[in-house]
């Protein structure tokens, strides 16, 4: 469960101060699927970064399963992101020198030898199968289409069986067909494995697919629709 309490983020100070996120409080339950919508610059990415501990809040706190992220060390946050949170970016952010397979296994690699042994190959095969990446595993990101790259990113996010997946405009660079497929896959995985899914989008159509929408307007979390 993610609990956000009076969370706010202000960038800079003085003249150039930007209040990217105004104090907001909300809770997202386990396995819940939420779309975060809002215009460009409304603070969506900021919110996601705070939720994943990538950024530190100016005030307030994010509680993940009751644990305050602000109290965690950088090392602990890294491990958290590695093991409990999957992150999907608009620009895929695959490591270009690694093949699709290696990119998918990157979190496992980062986790060291011990975890790598624990990791089951069957699970990899399953995800790959579902994401239809079987014949693309040995390709480098540069050799994949946008949709394929994003599917690799999804696989990477899923590989450590996260508790929560955060997606920052996952379909922003994709055509509508690929976009639909990516969203569908994300929703399916989330539903099947009870993964909390938070998808940032400014695409109304996509947002409408989600039972719950958080609307951001100039840093203010508005009407919790749904």
């Amino acid at each position: 469960m993610v609990r956000v309490e009076k969370l706010s983020k202000t960038y800079g100070s003085g003249e150039v101060q930007v209040e990217a996120l105004k104090p907001c409080t909300f809770t997202i339950g386990d396995g819940e699927q939420v779309a975060v919508v809002g215009a460009s610059g409304s603070g969506k990415s900021t919110l996601l970064h705070l939720l994943s501990g990538l950024d530190t809040p100016t005030s307030g706190a994010v509680f993940l399963d009751g644990v305050n992220l602000s109290e965690k060390s950088d090392e602990e946050l890294s491990l958290l992101r590695r093991r409990k949170i999957g992150f999907i970016f608009q620009s895929y952010n695959l490591v270009p020198e690694l093949t699709a397979r290696e990119n998918i296994l990157l979190p496992v690699l980062l986790d060291g030898k011990k975890r790598a042994e624990e990791f089951s190959k069957a699970y990899l095969d399953e995800i790959v199968e579902r994401l239809e990446l079987n014949d693309r595993l040995e390709h480098l990101p540069g050799q994949l289409s946008g949709g394929q790259q994003q599917r690799v990113a999804i696989a990477r996010a899923l590989i450590n069986r996260p508790q929560m997946i955060l997606c920052d405009e996952p379909t922003g660079n994709l055509d509508s067909q690929s976009a639909g497929r990516v969203i569908g896959l994300l929703n399916d995985f989330s539903a099947e494995s009870n993964i909390t899914l938070i998808v940032v989008t400014h695409n109304e159509a996509i947002a409408r697919q989600y039972p719950r929408n958080l609307t951001l307007r100039d840093g203010t979390v508005g009407g919790d629709l749904g």
């Binding site: 990415s45 970064h49 994943s52 990538l54 950024d55 530190t56 950088d74 090392e75 890294s78 491990l79 958290l80 992101r81 590695r82 093991r83 999957g86 992150f87 970016f89 608009q90 620009s91 895929y92 952010n93 695959l94 490591v95 270009p96 020198e97 690694l98 290696e102 990157l106 979190p107 690699l109 980062l110 986790d111 060291g112 030898k113 480098l140 540069g142 990477r156 996010a157 450590n160 920052d168 405009e169 660079n173």
Partner: protein
């Protein structure tokens, strides 16, 4: 660590050419410095050698030398003094080819002692009626070893055959004079080759003989050991032949340049290294977002830094040594000989420079990691990396690739500057090598009333040289026999005792051929 190695390996594998480009850039810069430093060492060693050789080829004379002091230093000489002071002629022996006739000549008692000719029996002759005979010659003449007997011989002189009777007063051990073919030919003694036994029969007195000055040659450093008046001005006058002073100045300037431009080179290496870190920053950012810890990120950079340093060290050292051999090769092709010396400090300096700059670049980034939040690496949401154009393997292309991105101009400027600096530094010493050397100039002087000369040839790192020379007049010409204009063709004059002239002359020897052009020899002798 495992992950760091693996990721670094992947990175290098994927960006092999780019990595090679960076390593090449660093190696070229640092290798240039190494070459310049090594070249300095070679230049210094060469100068030093030349300095020694300059002295060595400084032909000088100690006149009025003190015989006892010469004796004291006898062991320093290659061979003792030539004891023969003159030749009366050859002595005919039945059934023996005229060419093998032993010679009869006058000798110098002191020099004989110096030459280490053992007296086996009796004494040395004291006047023109007495002789001492070499043991083997005695046998050749089929004479008994009886002292006091009268020996009658047919002496073949240029004036004809004379029958002479002597009293045998002593028997000596074998005495071999080193005499070169050319010398013997000049003496009109045909067909004899060195070493030659002369004369075999010693006769007392100075009858018909050219008076010899015993001339000993030694290292120049020995000159003051012989008493008398060393460093006789202008015997052979050699004017600063190799301009060591100029060389030293150029060398000092080169060192200064090298040290100055090290700063520039460090910046260049730092930039090249930083570039390869910068390259990865974005992806480190991505990986930080998906759970890479700071320590892992630092390990990744360290891995890359150490790898880069190791490769650059190996390649840079190779290039540096290569450059050195190229420069030395060029000089050698231009006719200057050059010693190649490797200097540990140059390598140390080079290694410090490379490792220092690279590790500084990586370490400073690793340090930054300690403060950086994952997002600070560059927005993970930023635009995707553009696909790079295919690599060309030519160096400009590699360099272009390595110096791409924000650091391009800085790097190009640095490399340009560095190239100029390294060239200046290397060529500082190098140009000094191209300064033409003065030719030897020599002149002859004649010294009268001199009993002993110590003539100094060679020295330095070269072999010890000959021992003696002769003169037509007492104390006249202790130099190379047969070359003095007044001595040429002196009838019956034995001016032996010279050695192979090549050996006299540093640079004409086997392995030092080009230190001084052999052409210079004709000025000297």
């Amino acid at each position: 660590m495992n992950a760091s190695l693996k990721l670094t390996g992947k990175y290098v594998g994927k960006h092999l050419r780019q990595c090679i480009g960076v390593v090449l850039c660093i190696s070229l810069l640092a290798g240039g410095v190494l070459a310049a430093l090594l070249f300095r060492t070679c230049a210094a060693a060469t100068s030093e050698q030349r300095a020694r050789e300059r002295h060595g080829s400084y032909a000088a004379v100690v006149y009025d030398a003190d015989l006892s002091k010469i004796e004291e230093n006898k062991e320093l000489f290659d061979t003792g003094a030539c004891a023969v002071t003159g030749i009366l002629g050859s002595v005919a022996i039945e059934d023996v080819n005229a060419r093998d006739y032993p010679y009869i000549g006058t000798m110098n008692e002191d020099a004989m002692r110096l030459a280490g000719v053992p007296l086996l029996a009796g004494r040395l002759p004291e006047n023109g009626d007495e002789i001492a005979i070499e043991e083997s010659t005695l046998y050749k003449l089929r004479l008994e070893e009886t002292l006091g007997q009268t020996v009658t011989v047919q002496v073949h002189t240029p004036d004809g055959v004379q029958t002479k009777s002597y009293k045998l007063v002593g028997i000596t051990g074998d005495y071999i004079t080193r005499m070169s073919m050319s010398d013997t030919q000049q003496l009109g003694i045909q067909g004899v080759s060195e070493p030659i036994r002369l004369p075999g029969i010693f006769v007392g007195g100075t009858e018909g003989a050219l008076q010899a000055a015993n001339v000993l040659c030694a290292d120049v450093g020995m000159m003051d050991r012989f008493g008398g008046h060393p460093l006789l001005n202008g015997y052979f006058e050699v004017k600063d032949p190799i301009q060591i002073e100029d060389q030293k100045k150029a060398d000092a300037a080169a060192l200064l340049l090298i040290l100055l431009f090290t700063v520039v080179i460090v910046i260049g290496v730092y930039n090249a290294a930083e570039l390869s870190v910068k390259e990865r920053e974005r992806y480190i950012g991505v990986m930080r977002c998906i759970g890479m810890t700071r320590r892992q990120a630092a390990g990744l950079l360290l891995c890359q830094g150490v790898g880069l340093a190791a490769c650059s060290l190996a390649l840079g050292a190779g290039l540096g040594v290569g450059f050195l051999y190229a420069a030395v090769g060029l000089l050698r092709a231009l006719g200057q000989d050059y010693l190649v010396r490797f200097d540990a400090t140059a390598f140390l300096y080079f290694a410090l420079l490379v490792c220092g700059a690279i590790l500084l670049a990586f370490f400073s980034h690793s340090l930054k990691l300690r403060k950086k939040a994952p997002l600070d690496y560059g927005k993970p949401g930023a635009k995707p990396v553009k696909k790079k154009p295919a690599f060309s393997s030519s160096f400009p292309a590699l360099w272009g690739e390595a110096s791409a991105h924000a650091y391009r101009h800085q790097n190009r400027l640095t490399v340009l500057l560095t190239a100029v600096c390294v060239a200046a530094a290397v060529f500082g010493s190098f140009l000094a090598e191209l300064i033409p050397r003065n030719m030897y100039q020599s002149g002859f002087d004649y010294y009268q009333n001199t009993d002993y000369y110590v003539s100094v040839y060679g020295g330095g790192g070269f072999e010890k040289h000959l021992l003696c020379g002769f003169s037509a007049q007492p104390g006249d010409y202790p130099g190379r026999p047969g070359t003095h204009p007044e001595h040429r063709g002196v009838r019956g004059g034995f001016r032996g005792g010279g050695t192979d002239f090549q050996a006299f002359f540093p640079g004409a020897g086997r392995d030092r051929k080009r230190f001084f052009t052999t052409g210079a020899a004709k000025y000297l002798f």
